[in-house]
């Protein structure tokens, strides 16, 4: 009797697990009411792209509202210059960060910059290091984030 009851329970749990795996739901504690989840990629050396990616983040917040959208900007390659401590967009990054936008800095790129500079570059205090920018983007996409590369 005990074995007979166990089978349906196991099947139910398996179905629950599979369904959870098939449709990942982004879960960000800072943005519990977010209905949209976006990851913005900045990997371009063109400085105009820095302004553009910040503009896109700002416009998304304006459109959906600060609480309804969850944005993470992932910087890697030459795009990491956006998150260097002396970047001239510092005040804009401050502003976006205060509205809940997260900034991720690629550790691989930091290592490469360190090699070229002879010292580790100082990062914007609002940035968080991730092991690899591309991996971070893939993980976020797996979680249901929409990838936008302005």
């Amino acid at each position: 009797m005990k074995i007979k009851m166990a089978w349906p329970c196991l099947l139910f749990l398996a179905a629950l697990f599979l369904s959870a795996g098939a449709v990942a739901e982004p879960d960000n504690e800072d943005k519990p009411f977010a209905e949209k989840h976006v990851v913005l990629q900045i990997s371009d050396p063109n400085p105009f792209k820095q302004t553009l990616v910040l503009n896109v983040a700002n416009n998304l917040i304006k459109h959906y509202g600060q609480d309804k959208i969850d944005i993470e900007i992932v910087a890697f390659g030459p795009g990491l210059r956006l998150l260097l401590a002396d970047n001239s967009n510092l005040s804009r990054i401050d502003g976006l960060s205060s509205q809940g936008v997260r900034f991720s800095a690629c550790s691989n790129t930091i290592k490469a910059f360190t090699k070229k500079l002879g010292k580790e570059p100082k990062l914007n205090p609002h940035s968080t290091r991730v092991s690899a920018g591309v991996v971070r983007i893939m993980d976020l996409v797996d979680q249901g984030y929409t990838l936008i590369k302005p």
């Binding site: 400085p47 210059r81 956006l82 002396d86 970047n87 070229k116």
Partner: protein, 443 residues
């Protein structure tokens, strides 16, 4: 003394509240945006223009009936109405190595028709800027090379946002330096009597080292610059062992906006001290050195539709004194006994000021009016000449990068130490008004 030290401490503390990437000429021309500047940004501008006067000839003096230099269009002085490419500049600027915002560079060359390419032998293309800035020391950036000297707003501001076609008389005659080897006292018909400039016009530039920075305190920005340079304009090296020294201070209440069209109210003061060498003075051959000092203060205002500026400038030593009889330098007098020379008053003085007002009647159209006056050679009654100009202008902005400027200059001049019927005043009475139209296209 304690009070003074207290004020100094407060001032220093307020300056140290934060370094800003401010939009002012020192920063715009000498630095790049940290970690967001391109390695190499190619840019430039072209200024085709048409200028015209009535071409009134000299009414008196040994060159009577010949072209009056002040009614001809420079730099060639061949015609009283001409199309020309006033400026055609192309340059590249950036950080070179994008990961390090500590170093940036600025290179610009001129291929237009002006005193840079035409005077002193000139050349079809000439470098006007070639500088490297080091931003490693807090509050003390170093700029090294050839660049605009910290000084008068008219000279320091970027020419592609200059609101008129021509400079004021003070700036054109006494700040925009002509490098002459003699004072013009040599007589005769030989070619060297002309006393033509030995090098390109100064172009408000020098080669040297400048330390500068800008500090932000609330809505205020304070900028300083100190420079030592050759005092030989855009020539690649010095022509003597004397150096020029420059000091500059500006404080600006920033209203908003950014870059060259930033809105704010700025006050500034500047000082330039140098020495020049002449090889023939008062009819005597032999090298002699003379002080050349320039200083001034002024203000600019830009808010909404209104724009205003005023500057007061003084010059002591090496006063450019035009040409003999108002004739085009190099031309023979009617008797064929003397050639008109360019002249310098090595130990005289001059002063001048201007007030400038602009109003945007619509987003595309700005109307401008400027009054300027120059008192030249003020140490002697007979030698003094006064130049007064009202400039009426209109600027039509096609877009942010292209505009048309139309100016009408109501010009007059007099020799106050002479009677109205005396030859100097008869000559100056013939000064024509000048009409000019200029297109500016930035790329």
């Amino acid at each position: 003394m304690k009070k003074f030290i207290g004020y100094a401490a407060v001032l220093t503390a307020s300056m140290m509240t934060g370094s800003a990437h401010a939009a002012n000429w020192l920063m715009l021309q000498g630095t790049e945006s940290s970690s967001s500047a391109p390695r190499a940004k190619v840019w430039g501008f072209i200024q085709p223009e048409f200028q015209s006067t009535s071409g009134t000839e000299l009414a008196a003096g040994p060159w009577k009936g010949q072209d009056a230099a002040f009614n001809m269009i420079g730099p060639d002085l061949d015609s009283s109405d001409t199309f020309q490419i006033r400026r055609a500049r192309i340059g590249v600027r950036g950080t070179g190595f994008g990961l390090d915002s500590g170093v940036n560079y600025f290179l610009l060359v001129e291929a237009g028709n002006n005193g840079i390419t035409k005077l002193g032998g000139g050349g079809a293309v000439k470098a006007t800027d070639a500088s490297v800035t080091f931003n490693y020391i807090p509050h003390a950036r170093f700029r090294v090379g050839l660049f605009k000297t910290p000084g008068s707003e008219e000279g320091l501001m970027a020419i592609h946002v200059f609101n008129y076609v021509n400079f004021t008389s003070m700036a054109r005659q006494q700040l925009l330096e002509r490098f002459l080897a003699e004072d013009g006292s040599r007589t005769g018909t030989d070619k060297e009597v002309t006393n033509a400039p030995v090098s390109a016009i100064g172009a408000f530039r020098d080669i040297g080292v400048q330390v500068f920075d800008t500090f932000k305190n609330g809505n205020w920005e304070h900028s300083y610059a100190a420079m030592v340079g050759n005092g030989n304009g855009i020539d690649w090296s010095d022509n003597d062992s004397n150096k020029d020294y420059y000091l500059y201070w500006a404080s600006e209440l920033v209203f908003g906006g950014k870059k060259a069209r930033r809105q704010g109210w700025k006050m500034f003061a500047w000082y330039n001290d140098g020495t020049r060498t002449l090889e023939y003075v008062n009819g005597v051959a032999g090298k002699q050195e003379f002080d050349r000092k320039r200083w001034g203060f002024g203000t600019t205002y830009l808010k909404g539709k209104w724009r205003a500026a005023a500057e007061f400038t003084w010059a002591d030593g090496m006063i450019f004194n035009g040409s003999d009889g108002g004739a085009v330098a190099g031309s023979l007098n009617n008797a064929g006994t003397s050639r008109a020379s360019l002249n310098m008053l090595p130990e005289d003085k001059a002063d001048g000021w201007y007030v400038d007002l602009g109003y945007k009647v619509m987003p595309q159209l700005e109307l401008d009016v400027r009054y300027d006056i120059l008192h030249r050679g003020t140490e002697t009654d007979k030698g003094q000449r006064d130049f007064e100009t009202w400039t009426l202008g209109a600027q039509w902005f096609f877009n942010k990068k292209a505009r048309l400027i139309a100016n009408y200059e109501i010009r007059s001049a007099e020799a106050p130490g002479w009677s109205s019927s005396a030859p100097p005043n008869k000559i100056l009475d013939g000064m024509d008004d000048r009409f000019s139209v200029q297109i500016l296209a930035i790329f």
